[in-house]
Symmetry: C2
Subunit: 140 residues, 2 copies
């Protein structure tokens, strides 16, 4: 199925499979009444999107109980192909000891030196995805 | 200079140079009171970020006069390197005939079949960028 803009509409399971294979996403939130966006490493775990951030960071504060969007994508400019998945859901800072212990065992790499002690989990409510259909073919 | 999270802080000119070399970004806006994000092709022109969208699209409606964020990034998971630039500014749907004619001449590829008659311009007000410092070295 194509949307009004000519993009192939992806189902929820396909969206979650694409997210499961991605490493970098972007969390979209509101910071002092302005739209804000920040790239993050993430991992899917137990159906949640899990990210790490510095304790007390702007992101940790802004995401506390807020509805956020989360986006991941992959594009190949030479081929003119790509996909994008957007999740909307409530974010929470994980504080329960057992859950924290479980999250600390996840394969969630951090590329930047420095402490990243807070875990934020986003439970997907709305999940949508689009793929650029192959050129000259129909995206059945 | 490093920020509190250990990332190198980029200056405005460096941010705009990185944006000028990128092809894909993500526009962040509010849709029915929820955070929304959509990847787009873009080009820098006259200091503005210029994107094309379908006339009457959700994006065109939401971006009309709104303050939006715009993000572009590039990451290399194998090397653990990358950068991200975020611009915040007011978006406008371009309607003046002379400006429209100029924008239609820009090298702004569209990867998806179908009409993309509306042009949205974002004038950067806040510009910020971060780079992951090289491992084991100082990011002077």
């Amino acid at each position: 199925m194509l949307d009004a803009g000519g993009l192939e509409v992806l189902g929820r399971q396909e969206c979650l499979a694409l997210l499961g294979a991605a490493q970098i996403g972007r969390i979209v939130f509101t910071d002092r009444a302005l739209p804000a966006v920040q790239p993050v490493n993430f991992v899917l775990s137990g159906g949640d999107i899990v990210i790490r951030t510095t304790a007390g960071s702007k992101l940790a504060a802004a995401a506390r109980g807020a509805v956020v969007a989360f986006e991941a994508d992959e594009f190949d400019p030479r081929a003119g192909t790509g996909w994008s998945v957007v999740v909307t859901g409530q974010a929470r800072v994980v504080s329960e000891a057992g859950e924290l212990q479980r999250l600390r065992g996840l394969p969630l790499p951090v590329w930047v030196p420095g402490e990243r002690g807070d875990y934020i989990a986003i439970t997907p409510e709305l999940v949508s995805g689009r793929r650029i259909p192959a050129r000259g073919g129909s995206a059945a």
